[in-house]
Symmetry: C2
Subunit: 332 residues, 2 copies
DNA sequence: GTGAAAGCGCTAACAC
DNA sequence: GTGTTAGCGCTTTCAC
């Protein structure tokens, strides 16, 4: 089928070992041999077989990335950042979609481990079972979220502070009834965002009102439904904070459904700074995450672990920024 | 390090071959043996080594996907569709970013081929050198674009018809000076979109005016610059057609820069139907591509090729839809 | 400097 | 049914 090192050796009139040495770039070889082997390799169109190489090296130079949904621009951005640090280091990224489902995540993880990836970065689904991977000694870094009890590095943003800051901002603008549209607290980042929201309210001397919180689901449809419910109440909130980008779109849709405008009728602060947030009228005030940096940081952590770093698990927190635009009412 | 089939066999008190048979699910094995092997495999935490398996099977059950930019929602959607058909079939997809650069594409392709992927789907960069892959007999399907002279399947949309329809629509609305913001014609899909635009104008008895075409570049910044230039002319176009989603954002930004509103000042028709297109005011009229279907079709074609289909190369054209909204002026 | 030989973990004949 | 044996394509001692 494909040409092997053995055939190159034969064509060059040297032993397999010699050919391997020049092609692999290790060990000694006379300039003459080097010349002839290189020549016949090129002529025959030899491509090294990474599979065979991985088998003996016990290293694949591949890492797996498991995300809930590659269509979420947030994850796509992370993937990009990750690849940007891993590829120059010689690694190939194997991407798997888990659909935010523990079962699919399991099978993706199994497939990746069977492929003997040298490391894994995963955005864990709720109830992810990562201990086994850690126990097996596979370098692992959690991204965006962390599963409790898992002794592995985690790279994420300052979710609590981020959402508290967003809520504080709304409080400063005079809002007292601030609604929350969030994903399930089973996801650590969501739990932190919910906690940050509540903490900000408490600090302001306001009680937490369950009627103002719509929690669960992470899609645009979920956000639309949640926001719709919140905004249909007779005592509807005067402001809404959405904890992820899909739900921000959903909230905007719900507002349109109900004929409500931001910031006059409801002020809005969303999560994730995407292109369209400045395109809509009014432009959306958001908590911006350093997307590519998250991926890069995860890549660097993984590189360190694969390089032999055996220190205790690290939690890396990247800072978010509150990008104030018009939807919150700070500027008309 | 990790547990091998040999250790499982020893623990179960059978030969390596027997263990392999029950673990691999092929050949015969007595219920008793089956039982004991399964048991010790579970106890030892055995994970089959896909690398070793691939070496003997001469098949990796992995396919490579090379896209220009995974952060482009269009490609992310394709990737998703592809994974949706390939993963259930047992394949893992290896993702590589080529940054729309022939050099990076080459190295990505080399890495993937070294890994001995069973098939490849690539969104070829301009000047991509795919012949070699075809010659090597690696199943290949081109996605979104096709490189001339490459005898491989290609899955794409009806670019020419799509953009002609968009332009026709603007013509019907009375526009006579219709600007074009497009990526380079070196990319086959762009070339087709440009051709469709010109054809529609000619059919309407209008000449092609170079001053109305701004071609080259594919980013948001490029689109902004192009649109800005077109719209700054004294005899500026009354309508603009943008040939990809990033450039649509750019055009919108340029219009804002110049204080121009759609559709009153300039009518706008964009490419790709993304969430935000209905969120902006006015909602953007777009040519919608069947994103996931493109990925799925590519996956199916690849599956067929990997399954032994040796028929002549096929060009699969999926249909786009013109989604009429407010930015073109059809509805106020 | 170069070659012979062993072995990475697994599959697949082919005997028994 | 089960074990023995020979590789898959490569790296890596270890002699010569």
């Amino acid at each position: 089928m494909t040409v092997t090192i053995r055939e190159v050796a034969r064509a060059a009139g040297v032993s397999q070992a010699t050919a391997a040495r020049v092609l692999g770039g290790y060990g000694y070889a006379s300039p003459a041999a080097r010349e002839r082997v290189g020549h016949s390799a090129a002529r025959l169109g030899y491509t090294p077989n990474a599979v065979a190489r991985a088998l003996v090296a016990r290293a694949t130079m591949a890492v797996g990335l498991v995300v809930g949904d590659i269509q979420n621009p947030f994850f796509a951005g992370c993937a990009r950042g990750l690849a940007d640090v891993l590829e120059p280091a010689g690694y190939t990224v194997l991407l798997a979609n888990a659909d935010e489902d523990a079962g699919r995540e399991r099978s993706a993880l199994d497939a990746l481990r069977a492929r003997r990836v040298d490391g894994l970065v995963v955005v864990p689904a709720p109830e992810a079972r990562l201990e086994e991977i850690v126990r097996a000694g596979v370098p692992l870094v959690q991204l965006d979220r962390a599963v409790r009890g898992v002794r592995a590095d985690a790279v994420m943003v300052d979710n609590g502070a981020a959402s508290a800051r967003a809520v504080d901002h709304l409080l400063e603008l005079g809002h007292r009834r601030i609604g929350l549209v969030s994903d399930s607290p089973q996801i650590s980042s969501s739990a932190e965002r919910i906690a940050g929201y509540r903490q900000a309210l408490r600090r302001a001397g306001l009680g937490v009102d369950a009627a103002l919180e719509s929690i669960g689901g992470s899609t645009q449809a979920d956000g639309r439904r949640s926001a719709h419910a919140l905004l249909s109440r007779p005592d509807r909130p005067t402001a809404i904070f959405t904890a992820n980008n899909f739900m921000t779109v959903g909230a905007l849709l719900a507002m349109r459904d109900l004929g409500l405008r931001a910031p006059e009728d409801v002020a809005l602060v969303g999560f994730d700074d995407l292109d369209w947030t400045t395109l809509v009228e009014p432009a959306v005030t958001v908590v911006a995450q350093p997307v590519a940096d998250l991926g890069r940081a995860a890549g660097e952590r993984l590189l360190a672990r694969m390089g032999g770093d055996v220190g205790p698990p690290r939690r890396i927190r990247l800072r978010t920024t509150l990008v104030v635009r018009a939807s919150c009412g700070a500027r008309a």
